[in-house]
């Protein structure tokens, strides 16, 4: 019997090594898997490269992972979101590296990783300083930049419902980066508000099929707070 549901956070985080590239779902604090991030802090892997849209809000979730010194580098599109106090202090002190990517390029680089595409050309950022060092090529008279797939060692994602095969649904705009990150990592761990019986999820509504998911933890935390 396949059962990807783990009972403890320690099992969920088992084997995550120092130096890992960790994809963290969410847009601001919505869809951000805070319980898994706390689990990762507890687990203790260091020298991490985190890929996330934002750089953490206040002192919880991703910001706590940064504040406790586990992250060497962050790859994101919008570090200057609401209340990025922890990131800004670390960045000013030279204690964290930052790589800024256009949001769509970041999403597509992970989509490519999950789809077995090593690189692709995009029109985004042509003629800007974010094109520095990137190969430019013309197709049908328009210029494009070469971007490479962005693969994670680990993806931490937040779902709404899950079953023991790892099939997942999402809630409203909390979907965001979670489905694409789930495809792009060697180890994908999901936290879910609701665990349901196999067969209970409407197959038409499963947004991430279990083939992309390795472990599921039940985290019924209730409602998120936008801060």
């Amino acid at each position: 019997m396949i059962n990807k549901i783990v009972q403890t956070m320690a099992e969920a985080m088992a084997g995550i090594r120092d130096g890992s590239v960790v994809l963290v779902g969410g847009f601001g604090s919505i869809g951000q898997p805070n319980a898994l991030i706390e689990g990762l802090i507890e687990q203790g892997a260091k020298d991490l490269t985190v890929v996330a849209n934002n750089s953490g809000v206040g002192h919880v979730g991703l910001a706590a992972l940064l504040e406790t010194g586990h992250v060497r580098k962050i790859i994101c599109s919008y570090p200057r979101t609401v209340d990025p106090v922890v990131f800004e202090a670390l960045y000013r002190a030279g204690k964290i590296e930052l790589e800024v990517l256009p949001q769509g390029t970041m999403a597509e680089r992970m989509r490519a990783a999950g789809a077995g595409i090593p690189a692709f050309y995009t029109p985004t950022a042509v003629g800007t300083r974010l094109a520095a060092g990137k190969e430019e090529r013309e197709f049908s008279g328009r210029k494009y930049l070469l971007e490479e797939a962005l693969h994670g060692d680990v993806a931490l994602i937040e779902a709404w419902e899950a079953d023991r095969w790892g099939n997942l649904t999402y809630r409203s705009s909390a979907r965001n980066f979670n489905p694409v990150m789930a495809t792009a990592a060697t180890l994908t761990v999901a936290q879910a508000q609701h665990i349901v019986e196999l067969g209970a999820l409407d197959p038409e509504k499963i947004a991430t099929p279990g083939i992309f998911v390795d472990r599921v933890v039940h985290v019924p935390y209730g409602e998120p707070v936008v801060t």
Binding site: I30, N53, P79, P102, R129, S173, R175
Partner: protein, 221 residues
């Protein structure tokens, strides 16, 4: 300031948003950037069905909810609570940027620091050594939408023109802006540079030119 400059009233942020909304027809798929652009949605009457996309995976975004109807999983690109209109849907981020980059949006309305007479857009960083530059979806939107319109104040707080010959700020995308709505005027960007379509009442082209770095001409109507 000459006497002519005191005889007109610049538009407020809300009035600028309402002016943009007037030009968005039924049936367009539209992305609205952070700042004044998101206010545009409040001025498109619900019976005129323009479909608003939000980069975080919403098609058919509706107005802000009242306190009793907040869905805490439903936010827009500014991280504020919004609603979903009947017919709306959710997509993941890679699909959302397929919508944006793939040329499926009829229009993107963005804020800006500077726009040039050939449509160059600068709206993401204020200097080459900006400490924490935050690009978000701006470069994807600028490169991918069928039309890019900018809504912004005509000048900075210190009176410097935002309509310029050449951007002093880092570019978001070269040659993409087709129209600019300011608190003083509506301008097309075409092969001849900035063409003034309309001005606030009481303002003359000469007075507008004194506040504008780039050369202006009246649009052929």
């Amino acid at each position: 300031m000459n006497k002519a400059a005191t005889a007109y009233k610049p538009l407020s942020r809300v009035e600028m948003a309402a002016r943009v909304a007037r030009d968005i027809p039924e049936g367009w798929y539209v992305n609205l950037g952070i700042g004044i652009p998101v206010l545009v949605a409040d001025h498109i009457p619900p019976e005129r069905e323009a479909i608003i996309q939000s980069e975080n995976g919403i098609l058919g975004m509706g107005p802000a909810p009242d306190e009793a109807h907040i869905n805490r999983w439903l936010i827009n690109a500014s991280k504020l609570y919004v609603t979903l209109r009947p017919g709306g849907s959710y997509i993941h981020h890679a699909d959302s940027f397929a919508v944006i980059r793939g040329g499926h949006l009829d229009l993107c309305v963005l804020g800006a620091f500077q726009v040039t007479e050939n449509g160059d857009l600068a709206n993401w960083a204020t200097s080459e050594n900006d400490t924490t530059p935050a690009v978000g979806g701006a470069m994807d939107l600028a490169a991918g939408a069928k039309r890019v319109w900018v809504v912004m104040e005509h000048t900075t707080k210190s009176g410097d023109s935002r309509l310029v010959r050449r951007c002093s700020y880092p570019l978001t995308a070269p040659g993409v802006v087709k129209r600019v709505y300011t608190n003083l005027a509506v301008l097309d960007v075409d092969a001849g540079g900035f063409a003034v379509r309309e001005m606030v009442e009481g303002l003359t082209l000469e007075a507008l030119q004194t506040m504008t770095d780039a050369p202006l001409r009246l649009a052929q109507s």
